[in-house]
Assembly symmetry: C2
């Protein structure tokens, strides 16, 4: 189809230029690239608008969001699902505990596990942030337009498959 500069056969810069500018096969069609750009943009935008004003970081937001939707869980459960390094989750949890937003206690049946749980203060914070988060998401969906639901569906399906 469309080769141009990213063609497998492209060897030297001269050859690339000889084929002229590439109209459609640009950066924007390499999937990992697209995902990274969109994700970073969305996360940063969301953090800028809402999260910072509550004095929490992005990793901290992810942890309490997880706790809010799933109930009390272990550190492991979070970093596996969210794809954060476990030390990142651990440190975020420590900061959240210091702030009094979550509690940490050893799971009695398996004493290796640390059970994280939102405190009342944590829930109160979430009840302030949640409307903002939902509003942000809604505006994001609006931007996606009519393909939005399908897009989200594909995303969810993929994440479920991939484990």
């Amino acid at each position: 189809m469309n080769f141009g500069c990213l063609s497998v056969h492209n060897i030297s810069r001269i050859k690339c230029y000889e084929t002229g500018p590439v109209p459609e096969f640009s950066l924007d069609s390499f999937l990992p690239y697209q995902l990274a750009a969109l994700s970073s943009r969305v996360s940063r935008e969301f953090a800028k608008t809402y999260v910072s004003k509550f004095g929490i970081t992005i990793p901290e937001w992810r942890v309490i969001f997880h706790l809010h939707t799933s109930g009390p869980v272990s550190v492991r459960e979070i970093f596996q699902r969210v794809d954060m390094d476990k030390s990142k989750v651990s440190r975020a949890a420590s900061r959240l505990e210091e702030s009094g937003l979550i509690s940490k206690k050893t799971n009695p049946t398996d004493r290796r596990l640390v059970e994280l749980e939102l405190t009342l203060k944590g829930y109160e914070l979430m009840s302030k942030i949640t409307p903002l988060a939902l509003d942000f998401e809604r505006r994001l969906m609006d931007k996606l337009g009519e393909q939005g639901p399908a897009f989200r569906e594909t995303l969810a399906h993929f994440l479920k498959e991939d484990g």
Copy 2:
């Protein structure tokens, strides 16, 4: 529709538990969350499988990929498109220059600009990585299934809109 734990009306943990487990409104349906998880997973997977073995980092890969598809550009053009901090691009470029994969020269018409350009060595590296990248992407698309093209389309459209 489906409220449960993420409901705007959710105030306390007790209330949350009273509604019971939430079957569908889980983490996996909050869009920024989904995007972050997928993007991080894809980037890391790609880096693990292919990039590391060529001795370059993810930011470096993004820079040379951009140069390969767009031709010589300034630092600014890269970090605006790819959503990396400009210092990140700057440092990646310095490392790439040290490795002899790109060249840096001052733009003569605007001496503030630094024009980055792949060297022959850089092009040779890209000609090795590109097939692997395309293969990785193809397998990713396969996983997405028949919604793949639509998904990619939505992504591209959104990125273009958002500037």
